[in-house]
């Protein structure tokens, strides 16, 4: 798997806030078809890393490369168009609108259709087809007319994934998709993500270790902004450095 050219790559990313090194020379790759999980204790710099990959924060040094192209200088929206499908840790949905309208927004973005002023988005066949296909993929077709504010927490997570899907991304960046989910919801979402890796690889930042060990082909451990280990679930479980970082014991 690691022989193929990576879809997404960070090269020596570093970012400091004053004296705090939030990201310290992070180089990771995301290979076709894989789920690469990033784990680490709270405050390890996982969110900062994601923000740099997606364009919300500028790294001090280093590059982000997508499909061999350096996207470090691009804005958030340009990176999305280039193929980054992001989901948020705290759902960023249009709460006043219906599920379908949220998915349509993704379709509008995917097709660069924001500069249309006359025809209703809901009645535009190609937009609707994209939106409905994405909702069907995550199992939200029955909720299409529901107002987003009335959705359950789990369904909001699914909608986040559906919106990323409408972009037909080259890579998914998912920031704690399992956060706040119950056991049943977690399991359903795990199944969904499992199938999704065929469409595009997933860079998964997650706290839920069950999900990580069930899904990830590779796991990287981020501590104080540094990647201290990368490997299979088995390798990570038995790594001394990881045990030290998490448990604080030197045995």
């Amino acid at each position: 798997m690691s022989d193929a050219a990576p879809i997404l790559e960070t090269r020596h990313l570093s970012k400091s806030f004053g004296a705090l090194k939030a990201t310290d020379d992070v180089s990771i790759t995301l290979q076709p078809g894989e789920i690469h999980a990033i784990i680490g204790p709270n405050g390890a710099g996982k969110s900062t890393l994601i923000q740099q990959i997606c364009g919300a924060l500028r790294p001090d040094t280093g590059n982000v490369v997508l499909d061999g192209r350096d996207i470090s200088g691009l804005s958030t929206q340009a990176r999305a168009r280039a193929g980054l499908g992001r989901t948020f840790q705290v759902s960023q949905l249009c709460m006043e609108d219906s599920v379908l309208e949220n998915a349509l927004l993704g379709a509008v973005g995917a097709q660069g259709a924001a500069w249309r002023f006359w025809r209703r988005a809901l009645e535009t066949a190609e937009l609707r087809a994209t939106a409905e296909a994405a909702l069907a993929r995550v199992g939200l077709s029955d909720e299409a007319a529901t107002r987003c504010a009335n959705l359950s927490h789990g369904a909001r997570r699914q909608l986040e994934v559906a919106m990323a899907l409408t972009l037909r991304p080259r890579a998914f960046i998912m920031d704690e998709p399992m956060a706040g989910m119950g056991a049943a919801g977690s399991k359903r979402l795990t199944g969904l993500l499992d199938g999704l890796r065929q469409e595009a690889p997933i860079l998964l930042v997650e706290h839920d270790m069950d999900a990580v060990f069930a899904l990830a082909d590779r796991i990287s451990v981020l501590v104080y902004g540094k990647i201290i280990a990368t490997g299979s679930a088995q390798e990570i479980r038995s790594s001394r450095a990881v045990r030290e970082a998490y448990l604080g014991d030197a045995e």
Binding site: C54, G55, A56, S75, T76, Q77, A78, A80, R81, R86, F88, Q92, L93, C94, M95, E96, D97, E101, N102, L104, L105, G106, V108, G109, A110, G112, A113, A114, W115, R116, F117, W118, R119, R120, A121, L122, T124, L127, M163, T166, L167
Partner: protein, 328 residues
């Protein structure tokens, strides 16, 4: 009491059309002028509502566009009525008394101003945006006061209302008809815009800018275009308002007017198509009746407004339809 919003919308438009006709029948031209005033203010507020209600951008400087529309009319008509030449260096004109041309110029100037003001103001958000738009309004206000060539503080009087092909605009009901038709046209455009992909994106922008960017859409460009459209519509209203009064003055640029436009929208209901229209009718009625009772009617307006903000979100439309409007 809950009434479907589109029934109320229809009833309001029919009411606005019927009142002047009735006034014509009983020969009360002043009522026609009053309704025309409400229609023009409604048009200005519909423009503001594009950014305020749907985009969530509290512009406290929309008087800029209202004033620019007014001065576009004033300057063109002034040169036409004095038979003088307006020399812009690259372009000279003897002015015009034709409404359609004046409207195009008013909208064009307002749109250009909105583009540059937007480019600067939209870099900021929240309270900064409110204060900066307010400050820009003041800048234009003081500029108009110190611009002696066009009347300075005293403003400009236009002796004869500008013309529209085939109509006699001096007849109040005919001028009302023009304003009402323009309002309806803009409302139709707005209704389409709201549900079109652009409207969807603008609406999403109010709720989460990060989401819009993540979907590959450029938030700044969407906001800027909304601001330009909004400015152009308010500019058109300014030109009509100047024609209604046959007078323009720096007061059209005043911050109080920017505030009143926001108030109109709030009285009617934020983020609703007809909110500004209903708000403008109520405002003009209050101004007329309360203003007739006491010179200090602004005290009551202030108290009513406080009541709405503290106790009744959603405005009148919210009250009638039982739904809250968009949250800004």
């Amino acid at each position: 009491m809950r009434i479907a919003e589109h029934w109320i919308n229809g009833a309001v438009l029919i009411g606005i059309a019927a009142l002047p006709l009735w006034a014509l029948f009983i020969d009360e031209p002043f009522t026609i002028t009053l309704v025309t005033r409400a229609v023009i203010l409604a048009l200005a507020a519909v423009g503001l509502n594009i950014v305020l209600g749907f985009g969530g951008l509290v512009s406290f400087g929309h008087a800029v566009f209202f004033g620019l529309g007014g001065y576009a009319m004033g300057i063109l008509a002034y040169h036409a009525q004095t038979y003088t030449v307006l020399d812009l260096g690259f372009f000279t004109t003897e002015g015009t008394k034709s409404m359609p041309i004046i409207w195009l110029v008013a909208m064009g100037i307002s749109a250009i101003a909105a583009f540059f003001i937007g480019l600067l103001c939209l870099r900021t958000s929240g309270v900064y945006f409110i204060m900066i738009t307010l400050a820009f309004g003041q800048m234009f206000y003081y500029f108009a006061i110190s611009w002696a060539q066009y009347g300075g503080e005293d403003g400009l009087s236009i002796y004869v209302r500008n013309g529209f092909p085939g109509l006699n605009t001096l007849v109040p009901i005919q001028f009302f008809g023009i304003c009402f038709a323009l309002l309806c046209l803009v409302l139709i455009l707005k209704a389409r815009l709201q549900r079109a992909p652009f409207g969807l994106a603008l609406n999403a922008l109010r709720q989460s800018e990060a989401r819009v960017a993540t979907m590959g859409l450029n938030p700044m460009r969407i906001k800027l275009l909304a601001f330009v459209l909004s400015g152009a519509i308010t500019g058109l209203a300014g030109a009509l308002f100047a024609d209604l009064n046959r007078f323009v003055s720096p007061a059209m640029f005043s911050w109080q007017f920017s505030g009143e436009l926001i108030v109109l929208i709030i009285i009617g209901g934020v983020g609703r198509l007809m909110g500004p229209v209903i708000g403008a009718c109520v405002f003009v009625a209050l101004e007329h009746f309360l203003g007739g009772l006491t010179d200090f009617w602004h005290v009551y307006l202030g108290l009513i407004l406080l009541g709405i903000v503290l106790f009744g979100r959603g405005g009148l439309l919210g009250l009638l339809t039982g739904k809250e409007g968009a949250h800004v």
